[in-house]
Symmetry: C2
Subunit: 341 residues, 2 copies
């Protein structure tokens, strides 16, 4: 109950405050924006009136006048993926620190049409700029031209776009994972890849292949999943039955969990007869059985940087030129030397 707001009173405007404090609207505006040239006494009086009337500036009017919404739009397909969620959280937090708010511009279907639509509708959104968290395949500039007047940052490791982008160093992660397994003494490393429409999936697969080739090892045909635990499980049902497979690099932790499940069902012991490395280091991975060796992505760092780059564009300050964020190999109990060793 605290403050007594008038009955059904419309919200107080700067003019109301001005009248109440006996000053001009402009002075109210100056106080509201914390500008320098206002006498302390006046400032206090205006502040008191603002509190008493429950005044707060109207964002719409501010935006109309200044052309700035102090809002960043985020375009992503889904919140169901661990990475996207972490990105969003990091973006929201970083944006908050520099006075921006996040607006979700959802795209329901993973189709080019939806993306194009969302981007086309961009200019009628109340945003100053946009962070796009969508696989590059659907963003090649030929099909979707981003409005030239909207600041954009793309979270993606494709270099197809001419817009600023940033992402995890996918190749580094895949290299670390594959190398770790080779270092343990495995003859070669198998792979469960993500869907090929995802640039990240292709990068991880390519880097895995390169490491094997550079060591002169046989490159086994990769399995392909869709990131889901179910697809990892299905690949796992075959892998668990083939004793010649002793090491697998899985393109994400979810599919690795599915693989683990298949191994348990078929009695294939991990890590003594099969080593597994995942990718993402999702929250639960350390509690899988066995705890999963994986590649830790710094989602928060990527999110933070994307905001920094975007705000630099919006406010035309010096851009932050970070474009690749490194990863860490986290060794847990799902990897070990091969059976014979």
């Amino acid at each position: 109950m605290g403050s007594a707001s008038g009955p059904a009173a419309k919200k107080a405007s700067a003019a109301d405050v001005a009248r109440h404090a006996g000053v001009s609207m402009q002075t109210v505006s100056r106080v509201a924006r914390d500008l320098e040239n206002v006498q302390p006494a006046t400032r206090d009086r205006v502040r008191a009136s603002m509190v008493e009337l429950g005044y707060s500036p109207n964002r719409a009017a501010r935006a109309l006048r200044s052309g700035r919404f102090h809002t960043i739009g985020v375009i992503m397909f889904t919140l169901s993926s661990f990475g996207n969620t972490k990105f969003l959280e990091a973006i929201a937090e970083a944006a908050g620190l520099v006075g921006y708010t996040i607006t979700l511009l959802p795209v329901s279907q993973r189709t080019r049409g939806e993306v194009t639509g969302a981007i086309a509708r961009l200019s009628e959104q109340a945003v100053d700029g946009v962070v796009i968290v969508i696989e590059a395949d659907l963003l090649s500039e030929d099909d979707v031209d981003l409005p030239a007047d909207v600041p954009v940052v793309i979270i993606d490791s494709s270099r197809l776009s001419e817009r600023p982008f940033i992402d995890t160093d996918q190749a580094l992660g895949a290299r670390l994972a594959t190398q770790h397994l080779l270092d343990l003494g495995h003859e070669t490393v198998w792979h469960i890849a993500g869907p090929q429409t995802f640039y990240a999936a292709r990068r991880r697969e390519a880097a895995w292949r390169e490491v094997l080739e550079s060591h002169g090892r046989e490159v086994p045909p990769p399995f392909t999943g869709d990131w889901s635990t179910g697809s990892g499980y299905r690949a796992g049902l075959e892998i668990a039955r083939r004793p010649e497979i002793t090491a697998v690099f899985v393109a994400n932790d979810g599919m690795a969990l599915g693989l683990l499940r298949a191994c348990h069902e078929l009695g294939r012991d991990v890590p003594s007869t099969l080593s597994i490395v995942g990718f993402d280091d999702m929250t639960e991975s350390e509690s899988f059985w066995p705890p999963l060796t994986t590649i830790h992505q710094h989602f928060d760092e990527v999110g933070r940087s994307s905001v920094a780059m975007l705000v630099a564009q919006i406010e035309r300050t010096t851009p932050t030129p970070v474009t690749m964020v490194p990863v860490d190999l986290v060794v847990r109990a799902s990897t070990a030397p091969p059976p014979g060793a």
Copy 2:
């Protein structure tokens, strides 16, 4: 390149379109809003001009004039919890369907002060209403009075607030879980509770207790975790060592995963010597080892309803009076009759 936008041209306004099409601004406005009373010929001409000039209405001006932002604010502590993520996704999708956009109003710390602050700043946000996804403890009306003029829906099962609220039927879920274990023949059921500051945790614990008491069973002292896998693991280290414990109802799937890990480490077989039921049915739960019996929450339904209720308030249409969303027991492989049976 497609459309040829003038060099550094300012955005076209309704006045520009009006001039170009030879009509009044008002007619442009009518066409833009798809109102009825415009002659087809005129409408087409205006539409053509809009396309040619690349016109799109200015949200700020619209909001200023109409007082509506067509935006819903969401206040939540974190995106790291499975439930919150699902809520947000459902809210965003449902909002999109009725022409609203979602803005994130983040609260970094789980403290009363932060919540109060976020709510106090509410009226200066560009939102028409707010969905609050925060445990009731921090929202008891004594401390935090929600601005009376802002439509609010609270996702929470506390009945403390006088504002509209909606939530999963926590008690039903806990009852189903506990009953399921008793039905299998277990003498009693132990419990790993969530943090007591969460209303949901208290509700689940209370319902678990009631079921046991109503069957005249002993009520063992509950363990208490903090929702994290780590806390479930720590409780699990003790549980796995006590053979008299044959059934555990865990307040969320994450802690259940931790318990599973402890059981694996200590060689306690699930479900033959210990049955486990979780709560949430997170995406990964069916791939745990063994796949987890759990309570499926309809997060999407709760999210959808919250939007419906909020939009009803904003647009003063008939409110949707749903306040409790049921749950389903999903039986998987982590539960079985007790060892002796």
